[in-house]
């Protein structure tokens, strides 16, 4: 397929210009063209949350989103979360709490948790469950993910 559409997006703080195809998804553009493979493809129908990025500051699934429609947008992927080797407190909490097994849902879950804690610094357990209700994790049974988000809240308080 012809890559003849010019787009420009600010990705992880840097403006990126590229030619893409008309029907290419944003996920495909990130993973295949930019090699930003931290954003995962689990279902291809927007039902598992593995492909969540921040699009203009809000988490959204991008496996069904046409990349052309993100022209001019600001995108943060999991690769843009840590500051160099300094991990985000949510990332630290996920590690410490054992909230990671295979790790495939982790980037999406982490970004969702970051967004939640930015907008609701002290979420209840139900609010945490609600926030990650669009995500599927097949390994952890969500128990330690919920613990990690609570732990991240404590870490952020201490900062």
């Amino acid at each position: 397929m012809k890559k003849n559409v010019a787009v420009k997006m600010k990705i992880n703080g840097t403006w990126v210009e590229a030619f893409i195809t008309q029907k290419q998804t944003l996920l495909d553009f990130l993973r295949e063209d930019l090699n930003l493979t931290g954003t995962k493809k689990g279902c291809g129908t927007g039902d598992c949350g593995s492909c969540i990025v921040f699009l203009n500051g809000r988490p959204r699934t991008i496996c069904t989103m046409i990349a052309v429609n993100a022209n001019g947008c600001e995108i943060t992927t999991i690769e843009g979360l840590a500051k160099g080797t300094e991990l985000h407190p949510v990332q630290e909490a996920f590690m410490q709490a054992g909230a990671i097994q295979c790790g495939y849902c982790t980037p999406g879950m982490v970004l969702e948790a970051v967004y939640l804690l930015e907008h609701n610094p002290a979420p209840t357990e139900n609010e945490i469950k609600e926030a990650i209700s669009g995500h599927i994790c097949r390994c952890t049974g969500y128990v330690k993910i919920i613990e990690a988000i609570k732990l991240a809240h404590d870490k952020l308080l201490k900062k």
Partner: protein, 763 residues
């Protein structure tokens, strides 16, 4: 110091949490092509012609291959003698999804376009979807050479069943059905293949068993094993679904044809349509006991749906037929089991290997018996429970058995005895509460299908910089086996875990190992790794001994320092000793070696199916508390108290995670998951309509570890991950009976089925 039982985060957690870990589906090679499979749209048809000319002509297409282009051999999975499939169909297609052709091209869109241009002329023939119908005389044959579509029959006879039924005070029976369910690992199957000039194939694949894969793919491609190198890539979940899989060698065909690297990745729809979900079973079970609760006899018939091709069905059916007999001290057994071909997706391994199916029947039947004689179900189980030192009816030697303790602890923590009485009082017109118990067991490595091989081996390498590398043939599916191995090595060498790395398997460098399934890795692999670490330690201390002038038996290592037991001032850094060891031997590294072959373990007898198939057996008791809406039929699990005899906890953090994850999958199996098949077509091949538990569906989970210290496990450790799923569905079913007085005998226990049973009971 790292201790056994510590809480250690995954050694690859940083890569995972930053998105930098390259999973199989993330892996790329320069100049690679993309491949896709053309699948059969019909459940059963003869292939009359295949025209690929228009596909070949498409701009950007580099290869189109079909089963008519090559003389592809018949093959099956490792150890299976009944070879019944080719990489690409030749005469017939046998299910919707069957592989007919494969295409490689410059990008996925072009390849998809080429698939549309392939014209296959089919002659549709009658298909059979229900295993019971498939077994009838005159049913359409999925494979012409297999009479009545029966791929395998097992008949097990122990004791005197007729007499035991006559002596029984209570007899109950039921028919239990478990559906087609998918492992639904989050990362779809993926492969990258490339051939070199010596006609040697390299496959970069996420697989549970690189060596089984190599064995099977060599057969499928008609080449020898030495011509294949498998490089294991990290995988986004597996749960039994990432053993041998056709996509990998098909990718190799395309790479050979184009002489370029080729990558293939399944869509989620292909995952549901054409991978290897759990074997559905219909289990008819009848059992009898004495008034005092002594379990006397059990008669079982299992009909298992193999789907269109042979995978690990025989092993899974054997497991379903025999394993549950070892949970209680049961002596009179009569079992007939049938593995039956149908024109549906082939079925395979999924966490539990036949046990989630059969224990659903057994543990429901046990509650029915207890109910029949008016005995508490926990007491009933305690009365009959197998114990340490038992030799069971199938000749299993239980070196450790924490079943009774697991029952006691799970009932105690869940306030079982109070709740059995009091929950009934909480009942309102529409809402009923109940509490149910179920038990199960498993193996720690299973001597099933390879007569020539068992056990595990490992190398622990210490280089001149003091870096410790563990080479193993076992694989990490995300459960954290690499972290477990690092913990064991760090513990034995007295160094921080961070100094230890555990590379993924590469068949050119790693020891030959069977990989990860059957709860074998911690027990067998852990023993091997521990022995290799001790061997490396001995070698390192010999070096230090010479420099320190202290006999090596008088030296110990703690926190990376080697010192004399008598005088702590006589010391040397671990890394310094490693440097000296290497320099003194012209760069040769310390290479510790260890292997573990379980003793007193054997394949089953071909006739009786008896045999001590594992060196250690884990046991489980789980208590589920439920709320049943009698009007809507909705079942909510309120809590699960899970007691697991895992022998010994090695990494507590990840062990808890195994229990949580298995329970979530168990709840899905119990209440919501089902691949709906209509005339051979999966009608819900996506995550929107295949309903897996989300965060809100998970109840409070209490995890209890019972440490029975198995004599054969490393530090006493046994398996954990698989049986943690098995007990969930029957525990919930028994809780529903306690709440509402109805037996749900067909999974998933959907609101419709619950409502049906309630209205049946009322009328």
């Amino acid at each position: 110091m790292v201790e056994i039982g510590d809480r250690i985060p995954l050694i690859d957690a940083v890569e995972k949490v930053t998105g930098t870990l390259k999973f199989g589906s993330d892996f790329k090679l320069p100049g690679m092509l993309y491949g896709k499979v053309l699948r059969s749209p019909l459940p059963h048809a003869r292939i009359l012609s295949i025209d690929v000319s228009r596909a070949r002509k498409l701009f950007g297409i580099r290869a189109v291959v079909t089963g008519w282009d090559y003389d592809l051999p018949l093959y099956s999975v490792a150890g299976e003698k009944n070879v019944d499939e080719r990489l690409l169909a030749k005469e017939k297609v046998r299910y919707i999804g069957d592989e007919v052709a494969a295409v490689a091209g410059v990008d996925e869109d072009t390849v998809k376009e080429a698939l549309k241009r392939i014209v296959v002329e089919y002659e549709e023939i009658p298909a059979v979807f229900d295993p019971e119908e498939a077994m009838r005389e005159g049913a359409p044959l999925v494979h012409e050479n297999v009479k009545q579509n029966i791929a395998r029959i097992m008949r097990i006879r122990h004791g005197d069943v007729t007499k035991a039924f006559l002596e029984s005070d209570a007899v109950v029976e039921g028919t239990f059905k478990t559906p087609l369910v998918h492992q639904a690992y989050l990362e779809p199957h993926s492969a990258v293949a490339q051939w070199d000039l010596q006609a040697r194939l390299t496959l970069w694949i996420p697989t549970q068993s690189p060596t089984l894969a190599r064995m099977t793919y060599a057969n499928a491609l008609g080449i020898t094993q030495d011509k294949i190198r498998i490089i294991q890539l990290p995988m986004g979940g597996a749960f039994g679904g990432k053993l041998e899989y056709k996509l990998h060698p098909i990718c190799a065909l395309l790479a050979r044809e184009t002489n370029l690297p080729v990558k293939m990745t399944n869509t989620r729809e292909e995952e549901f349509t054409a991978t290897l979900p759990r074997v559905p079973m219909v289990t008819k079970m009848k059992a009898g006991c004495k008034k005092d609760g002594t379990l006397l006899v059990k008669q079982t018939e299992i009909i298992a749906d193999n789907g269109a091709y042979m995978n690990y069905g025989p092993g899974i059916l054997l497991s379903a037929t025999t394993r549950h007999d070892n949970l209680y001290r049961l002596k009179n057994i009569y079992s007939d089991s049938y593995l039956v071909y149908t024109n549906k997706v082939p079925t395979g391994c999924f966490r539990g290997f036949g046990c989630p199916q059969s224990f659903f029947a057994l543990e429901s039947i046990v509650d029915m018996l207890a109910n029949e004689i008016g005995m508490d179900p926990a007491e009933f189980r305690l009365k009959n429970a197998s114990k340490t030192g038992d030799i069971t009816v199938h000749n299993w030697h239980l070196g450790s058995c924490g079943l009774s303790e697991a029952i006691s602890k799970s009932t105690e923590k869940s306030k079982w005895y109070n709740k059995r009485r009091e929950l009934k009082l909480k009942r309102s017109v529409d809402i009923a509460y109940g509490i149910g118990l179920a038990c199960c067991l498993h193996v720690s490595g299973n001597r099933t299908f390879l007569p020539f091989f068992d056990g595990s081996s490992a190398y622990v390498r210490i280089d001149e910089a003091g870096q410790v590398i563990v080479l193993t043939g076992e694989t990490d599916l995300g459960q954290g086996s690499r972290t477990t191995f690092a913990l064991i090595v760090a513990h034995e060498l007295g160094i921080p875990t961070e100094w230890v790395s555990v590379p993924l398997v590469d068949t050119d460098f790693s020891p030959h190992g069977l990989g990860t399934f059957g709860d074998r890795v911690t027990t067998l692999g852990g023993n091997a790794v521990r022995r290799a670490a001790l061997d490396a330690k001995r070698q390192l201390l010999d070096v230090a001994s010479r420099d320190l002038g202290v006999d090596s038996s008088k030296l110990i290592i703690e926190n990376g320092i080697i010192f004399s037991k008598k005088d702590k001032n006589i010391s040397m850094e671990f890394k310094e000793a490693a440097r000296i060891a290497s320099h003194r031997r012209a760069g040769a590294m310390i290479l510790g070696y260890g292997h573990f072959v379980p003793q007193n373990v054997s394949m089953v007898d071909p006739e009786t199916k008896t045999g001590n198939i594992s060196c250690a057996y884990p046991f489980v008791a789980q208590v589920a508390e439920v709320k049943v809406n009698l009007k809507s039929g909705d079942v909510k699990v309120l809590s699960l108290t899970a007691a697991h005899d895992l022998g010994k906890t090695i990494n507590t953090l990840m062990a808890e995670g195994q229990v949580h994850g298995a329970i979530a999958q168990g709840i899905g199996f119990a209440l919501s998951e089902e691949m709906v098949v209509k005339k051979g077509r999966i009608t819900n091949p996506n995550f929107k309509r295949y309903r897996m538990p989300k965060a809100k569906d998970i109840p409070r989970i209490r995890t209890i570890f019972v440490e029975s210290n198995d004599p054969n496990g490393p530090y006493g450790a046994k398996g954990l991950a698989e049986p943690a799923l098995t007990a969930v569905a029957p525990a919930i079913a028994n809780a529903i009976y306690h709440a509402a007085g109805i037996w749900l005998t067909s999974l998933p226990m959907t609101p419709e089925k619950v409502k049906d049973e309630i209205s049946k009971m009322k009328s």
